[in-house]
Amino acid sequence: MIRFVAKRLALMPLLLWGIVTIAFLLSHAVADNPLASIVGERNLGNPDIVRAATERWGLDKSLPEQYFLYIANLLQGDMGTSFRTKAPVGSDLADRLPATLELAAMALVFAIVIGTLLGVLAARMRGRIVDSVVRVLALLGSSLPVFWVGLIFLFIFYASLGVAAGPGRLSARVIPPPDATGFYTVDALLAGDWPLFVDAFGHLLMPALIMSLALLGTVIRIVRSQMLEEQGSDYARTARAKGMTRGQVLNRHVLRNAITPVITIVGVSVGLLIMGAVLIETIFSWNGIGTYAVESSRALDFPAITGVCLVGGCIFLVANLVTDIAYAVVDPRVRLS
């Protein structure tokens, strides 16, 4: 196990290098010039300013030169400076990342907990009305476009009914908690500020739920079909022959076998979840990596875009590693090698 983790961790720099290279090349393949966002539209006419900026940001160098410079800096932990914010990309990302992670973590919890519960419920009520309702919900969750559901939910639950919190991570005029982890909910608890926690948590619920919808639908369907399949398996029947009730067999034998595939699905979906952050964060004015990615792309902010790709890649690789380990922990037949 340790050997396996070490091997995978050793491989990660290589994979990240690949990701960085592709992201670098792709963003430079865009024919447009980022100067406009660096110096501003008005200064584009001023050759002195343009020349100075071009030199300052190294845009006069050849592409290979720029690339090797970037890699060399990256190895020292410097992800470059954003054209747009003029701040180090590293610190920009550190500011934005916790917001996205907090949202994604909540979405994962929703998908796994609610998905498993509803999947089990549907399987146990197979063929009845509850089953049909859950299956329709799962289908809708997987097929409805996120931005549309997001807007509709905001309109109904926030604007019309006023039962849900609005966009943003906190209500207006609420001051964020002192920065410890960057997760507002956690920081609020650390500061012992209960009302602040409630406000932050409330704002998290709706975007997290909508972010989780696609994965939620998938989890429900997998848990339901796996439960039904495992219920019909030989070992479940043998367990019944021991004198166990249907419920005992489900809880003790079937459930664990049924939810192992969920680990795989959730693992590979973390990447998709982070991608979905772009839409969710835009709709809910969530100041995370998603909005940062959108703003950076618009400004052709190469360092920032490459930085986002790098962070995304890291999250994806770590998620995959955690998935493999979790699978080995749950299923004794899986040997990591």
Partner: protein, 554 residues
């Protein structure tokens, strides 16, 4: 294993039982008006082919029919209780405690995610017999009783860490955990090698005898039933066609179906289908020398790689027009040998000479030409045919691949081939799922014959078939050999079948040929310890504690 005469009321009495399954095509009766009685402490065998309803009948007893199955008529009386009228809650108290079950497949009947010990001790907890440490200790005792070494260690291990035979022992421990009055053993050993089967059945006998447990043994194997049961019940198409004391039923079958079943089952005394030709009577078409196949395997947690020889220095020859048998248990390397003969797997070293030409390492056009002359038939007739190909497509495909004949000529050849394997040429338009297992295997044989091969490699080609169908396919193979001069390599775990079909037999164990000879000599006077062990393990159809030998031996 003898019934106690002082108590004439049977432990289990089934009368007029009918079980129907609701299907898309309406209700289907799997069991029709079956009567059955099991007395205390005796062993009763239900014998029948697949689809005879024997397993359904067994499932009805402990109320574990599939969701679409229902008892529509009849009664099941168990020790004075009407099981069909028992509410679910009270039925749970009967299952596992008073009626145990040993299921068929040791691979699928244990929960892969729970340690085996817990799967035994939970029985004590459910029935409130023992809990905590006591339940654990009793489970360890049971593991010890079913002959699992280091039971304390093994208690914590998972099913995948056990061999098939060991898992079946665990299942026996589970079935007998609460010393039930009745044990339903549903094909308890059909997934096991013959030597393991004998050990497991002996163990089952010993334990049930000491506990006074009655056994309802469900099996397709007549000889096994004859050897193990006090009484036999023969089922055919859902109905009990004959029942009575084992010796009576087997020696003097009243029912026509029972008679056919007995005649079809090959025993160690059944006359050979191929006569007594010797090995020297024809020139070899295949000569194998020093054949070896190594695989890389990982050992232990550190994943150190080592080489494992699946086939080790195997040499034999196949005379033209003869059948050479290779027998062995799982893992003996017999199937790997088959794959190398078919050039489906490269050999590590050694020579295969086909028709005076070295064929190992053939590639391209030479390999293509070789394939025309050596064809396979595999074990599973369900998996060996493409479900989206019609029978005609399947049989025609080799002709298309080798570009033989025009479309019309191919059609004619397909009809001819189907006729040759005794199938109606009209079946060409059918799909595999519309055929029976025996018909499918005929299609697989027709496909193998399409290219007029000289050698056919039959890898467990009749093992998945019911005994009556198996007999027909064996006859077909012999007839085709006579007519077409085919040479067969017949690979099987079933010594009785090998005995009657082969001219020459090799016994394989752990990758090596340990003994060779004509079937007559080999089985009459085995020299190698392993061959003796194999022969001793075969159920010969002698009922225990009975006088005269049954018809199977004559």
């Amino acid at each position: 294993m003898t019934a106690t005469p002082d108590d004439d009321r049977p432990l289990l009495a089934i009368a007029g039982l009918t079980v129907a399954f609701t299907t898309d095509r309406g209700p289907v009766e799997a069991v029709r008006g079956a009567d059955l009685a099991v007395r205390r402490g005796e062993t009763v065998a239900i014998v029948g082919e697949s689809g005879s309803g024997k397993s359904t009948l067994a499932s009805a007893i402990n109320g574990l029919l599939a969701a679409n199955g229902h008892v529509t008529a009849g009664s099941i009386d168990f020790d004075g209780t009407d099981l069909l009228a028992l509410p679910e809650r009270r039925m749970n108290a009967v299952r596992g405690r008073r009626i145990g079950l040993v299921p068929q497949d040791p691979m699928s009947n244990l929960n892969p995610l729970l340690p085996v010990g817990k799967q035994i001790s939970e029985i004590f907890r459910i029935h409130g017999v023992a809990g905590g440490r006591a339940a654990r200790d009793r489970a360890v005792e049971l593991l010890d009783a079913v002959g699992i070494p280091d039971p304390r260690q093994r208690y914590r291990q998972y099913p995948h860490e056990f061999s098939g035979g060991m898992r079946q022992r665990v299942l026996i421990a589970m079935g007998l955990a609460c010393r039930p009055q009745l044990l339903i053993a549903d094909e308890p050993t059909s997934a096991l090698d013959v030597t393991v089967q004998k050990i497991v059945l002996d163990l089952l006998d010993e334990l049930t005898t000491s506990m006074g447990t009655a056994v309802l043994l469900v099996t397709h194997d007549l000889a096994l039933a004859a050897e193990r049961a006090d009484r036999v019940v023969v089922m055919h198409r859902g109905a009990v066609v004959e029942s009575g004391p084992t010796a009576e039923v087997l020696n003097d079958p009243r029912n026509d179906y029972t008679r056919r079943l007995l005649d079809a089952a090959p025993g160690m005394a059944t006359e050979s289908l191929v006569g007594a030709e010797t090995l020297t009577d024809a020139a070899p078409v295949i000569e194998v020398t020093g054949l070896r196949k190594e695989y890389a395997v990982r050992n232990g947690a550190f994943g150190r790689r080592s080489r494992f020889a699946a086939v080790d220095d195997v040499s034999f020859s196949v005379p033209r027009g003869r059948t050479v048998g290779i027998v062995g248990e799982s893992g003996s390397g017999k199937s790997t040998t088959a794959k190398m003969l078919l050039m489906l797997e490269p050999s590590t070293s050694g020579d295969i000479v086909f028709d005076d030409r070295e064929v190992t390492g053939l590639a391209g056009r030479d390999l293509f030409a070789f394939r025309r002359r050596v064809q396979p038939v595999f074990q599973n007739p369900y998996a060996a045919l493409d479900p989206r190909y019609t029978v005609g497509d399947t049989v025609r495909e080799p002709l298309e691949v080798h570009r033989i004949g025009t479309r019309a000529e191919q059609d004619a050849r397909v009809s001819e081939l189907l006729t040759q394997v005794a199938l109606d040429p009209d079946l060409a338009d059918r799909y595999p799922h519309e055929l029976s297992g025996g018909q499918r295997q005929r299609v697989a044989i027709a496909r193998a014959l399409a290219l007029d091969p000289e050698v056919v490699i039959l890898d467990e080609a009749v093992s998945a078939l019911d005994v009556l169908v198996q007999a027909q396919i064996l006859d077909l193979l012999v007839e085709l050999q006579r007519r077409l001069g085919l040479s067969y390599v017949f690979i099987s775990h079933d010594l009785a079948v090998v005995r009657i079909l082969c001219h020459h037999v090799h016994v394989m164990k752990a990758g090596r040929i340990v003994e060779s000879g004509s079937p007559d000599a080999l089985f009459r006077d085995p020299q190698h310890e392993y061959t003796k062990e194999l022969l001793a393990a075969i159920p010969v159809g002698t009922p225990t504690g009975q006088g005269a030998g049954p018809k199977l031996l004559t």
